[in-house]
């Protein structure tokens, strides 16, 4: 049992303990913090499984954005009704434990028996690797996402847009005491923002450009941008606006516009559907996707159709 196995064992046990804590904890706020920590441990698990792309995605999207979204949603419930019981009663479902044990056992047998089957001779993964050589990309995952199976990525951007449109369509008029302005008097927060927000833009562009050859890409970069946006919304530098202007709408739909524009527009030049002409197309699409993902997640976080700068 050399150190590698011990590390894996510790991570595995950590995952299980944290999952149990997240689910069984009575206070919702505590569960959210534990869920963020669970995201951290998941990111470490992805690194142990030699998948840095997924570690990056889990850290940026899984732990960061999802944690922030849940914290904001819980906060909104608190603002509406401050004497919200912090801890929530647990349902008395007798069937829960046996069903859970059955599910765990089923998945365990599947996972273990799936382990010792050797992958198929010419599986998609192997083909992806040697198709990658004659593209200009170095990172196979970005290759699959943007070149080989790009319809999935396009429709996934559509799912993100639907989530935003749905959140707008479903929102009921805000509760009166929700309009309370966030207390922004903390002195140091301004300084931290002045450093963190430009840095998040810098790191996002770094991840985006690095995405072609090493782990990174539009999704992780978009999530980092969203994190910067979240910080601005929280400290009321960006406040919810009423009607989304053309600029907001353009930024939110930029990813899809670029992808559909190039992917379908290419057919006018005689190419097949969704064939990307060159690396420039990949960069244009990835930048547009980064902008849309960042803004969409920030808008979903703020729970408002638009974001406007702080009135002077």
């Amino acid at each position: 049992m050399d150190t590698a196995h011990l590390v894996d064992l510790l991570l595995a046990v950590g995952m299980v303990v944290l999952a149990l804590q997240v689910v069984s904890e009575r206070a919702v706020l505590r569960s959210i913090i534990l869920f963020v920590v669970f995201g951290l441990v998941m990111a470490l698990a992805w690194t142990r499984l030699q998948a840095p792309d997924l570690a990056l995605a889990e850290a940026a999207i899984g732990a960061g954005v999802t944690g922030a979204l849940m914290m904001m949603a819980w906060r909104r419930l608190l603002i509406i009704n401050p004497d919200q019981p912090a801890d929530t009663p647990r349902g008395r479902s007798r069937v829960a434990v046996p069903v859970a044990l059955l599910a765990a056992a089923l998945v365990a047998t599947i996972g273990l028996s799936a382990l010792n089957i050797d992958p198929h001779a010419n599986g998609a993964g192997l083909i992806a690797l040697d198709e990658l050589t004659d593209t200009s990309l170095g990172n196979p995952v970005t290759g699959v996402l943007l070149l080989f199976r790009n319809l999935d990525t396009l429709l996934e951007m559509a799912v993100l847009l639907i989530a935003l449109l749905g959140a707008r369509a479903v929102s009921t008029p805000a509760h009166p005491n929700e309009a309370a302005v966030v207390e922004t008097s903390a002195p140091l927060v301004g300084a931290l923002l002045a450093i963190l927000v430009p840095l998040s833009i810098l790191i996002a562009t770094h991840l985006l450009l690095a995405g072609t050859n090493e782990p990174g890409g539009a999704f992780q970069a978009g999530a980092v941008l969203a994190a910067g946006g979240v910080a601005l919304v929280l400290t009321a530098r960006l406040q919810p606006g009423e009607r989304p202007g053309v600029v907001t709408q353009l930024a939110v739909t930029a990813g899809l516009l670029a992808f559909v524009g190039i992917g379908v527009g290419i057919m006018a030049f005689g190419e097949k559907l969704l064939v990307l002409p060159g690396t420039w197309a990949i960069y244009v699409i990835e930048t547009a996707m980064m902008v849309s993902i960042g803004l969409t997640l920030a808008l979903l976080f703020a729970g408002a159709p638009a974001l406007v700068g702080r009135p002077k």
């Binding site: 599947i110 992958p119 369509a169 479903v170 379908v264």
Partner: protein
């Protein structure tokens, strides 16, 4: 030329959504309506092509399976695309008045509706397991979001229950896709069908996948979320959900059962699916008998009618295949017509409680006529499309001497006749229950015409069976267990 049309099916509604978000307010309604009208126009030449030389395939980004994604258009997919296009036009006409593009609810409805259409068309074209997952998520999210428009408390809670069950079902489906990919290294349904050998692991993956899809298509006993969702949905949304969204996962189930696990001998599982269908028919019909509200009756009738499609699995024959696809088509048309009519009734007298719907035949003649016509098709009375579907099903059961299914189908038809006659009787033949409705607003004529058009199409489906059944004949699954 074919590739442009296939692309048009998915990217015209998607592009229209993007334009709707960017354009000023005035041009929105008409842009959306023209985008919906463009779909049948794209489908006509495609039907010609499929009619001429069978299945059309288009490798996206020029990468063929196992790596790339392939769009396949065969008879069954074409029929489902036609169902979507035919239902979409009248529903959009109805939505022009119930969700006016200028208003707040309209601004929410139209982008989601166009995105839903893009997702549905992308799903019917795709034959890739993971791509089906992504499009299914698109459809579920758009459907739940539309259900929540207007913010009535019951609809919001039903939307949340639908969303949670939908996400759980998608997770099971995703796990199954991961397992199958781990084993076969491929995601295309046909390729997976060839490479998948029938060991215990593949069987577990299939069970997970089928459970997920059964939950999404609200087959008994996983139908809990459907009545509250379709019964409380605003205006045309219940027509969209019952007419189209619920059929999407059933179509996927048929694709996976016959195209992917085609040459597996699973008689036990097939009868199990048939029994679930039987449960759906009986439970749905009985529950529909006791519902106080018109839209809840129609919602439970959806649960029942979907049960008939499940009978395709135990009676796996050419006739059964004809019957199931015809049932999907006819039920889609008739159910959308009924929900549009119900929406008009609810809109005009403010409630859809059956006891309040007295002597509507004088006030809402067109809607009542549409409701009656659609009921004829759901009941399976000649000459409607529903009748043809049930007739083919009876024929299939008769050929195989499956008396159990035969009796079940006839009982089901009787029950559906019962709960639908109850509705017709209450609305037309009870003059003595003089309950003057509190408010009265005649619905816009275009909304009533939309319901009537769909109902007439449901009846007309009974006559145009030859071309449709011909299309299905040349797109039978490769498995070839066809007696």
């Amino acid at each position: 030329m074919i590739a442009e049309l296939l692309a048009g099916l998915v990217f015209i509604p998607l592009g229209a959504t993007l334009l709707v978000l960017l354009l000023p307010r005035q041009a929105r309604g008409y842009l959306c309506f023209t985008a919906v009208l463009a779909l049948p126009l794209c489908l006509m030449p495609l039907t010609q092509a499929v009619w001429a030389d069978g299945e059309i395939t288009l490798a996206l980004a020029e990468f063929t399976p196992p790596l790339g994604i392939v769009w396949r258009l065969d008879g069954l997919a074409l029929i489902m695309l036609w169902l979507t296009a035919i239902v979409a036009v009248p529903v959009s006409l109805h939505a022009l008045t119930s969700f006016p593009p200028g208003e707040q609810t309209g601004r929410g409805f139209w982008p989601l509706w166009l995105m839903l259409l893009a997702g549905i068309n992308a799903l019917f074209l795709s034959a890739d397991l993971f791509n089906l997952y992504v499009t299914l998520e698109m459809i579920t999210l758009a459907g739940v979001a539309m259900l929540g428009i207007g913010g009535n408390a019951l609809a919001l809670k039903a939307a949340m229950r639908y969303l949670l069950l939908g996400l759980l079902a998608s997770l099971l489906y995703l796990l199954a896709v991961g397992l199958i990919y781990g084993q076969t290294g491929a995601l295309d349904i046909y390729l997976v069908g060839e490479r998948l050998e029938t060991d215990r692991l593949a069987a577990t993956a299939l069970v997970l996948m089928i459970t997920g899809l059964l939950v999404k298509s609200a087959i008994f006993p996983m139908h809990v979320w459907l009545p509250a969702a379709h019964g409380n949905a605003p205006g045309p949304v219940s027509a969209i959900l019952s007419g189209l969204v619920v059929k999407v996962s059933l179509y996927m189930l048929i694709r996976i059962w016959f195209w992917m696990a085609g040459d597996w001998e699973l008689p036990a599982a097939a009868t199990a699916l048939g029994l679930l269908g039987a449960g759906a028919i009986l439970y749905g019909s009985l529950a529909a008998l006791i519902q106080p509200r018109l839209k809840m009756v129609i919602a439970y009738s959806t649960v029942a009618q979907l049960g008939y499609v499940m009978l395709l699995f135990p009676l796996a024959s050419i006739n059964a295949f004809h019957a199931a696809s015809y049932q999907l088509l006819a039920h889609g048309l008739a159910k959308a017509a009924m929900f549009l009519a119900a929406a008009n009734i609810l809109w005009s007298i403010g409630t859809d409680r059956l006891h309040a719907l007295t002597d509507l035949n004088r006030k809402l003649p067109v809607d009542l006529f549409a409701l009656a016509l659609a009921a004829v098709s759901i009941m399976g009375l000649p000459p409607s499309g529903g009748f043809l579907a049930k007739w083919l099903l009876l024929e299939a059961a008769w050929q195989q001497g499956a008396w159990g299914w035969l009796i079940l189908i006839s009982i089901g038809s009787l029950l559906s006749a019962a709960y639908l006659f109850r509705v017709i009787a209450l609305t037309c033949f009870h003059p003595e229950r003089r309950h003057v409705p509190t408010r009265w607003q005649s619905p816009p004529s275009s909304a009533s015409i939309a319901a009537l058009v769909l109902a007439l199409l449901a009846i007309a489906a009974g006559f145009t069976s030859a071309p449709i059944l011909g299309l299905i004949d040349d797109s039978l699954p490769p498995g070839g267990i066809w007696p």
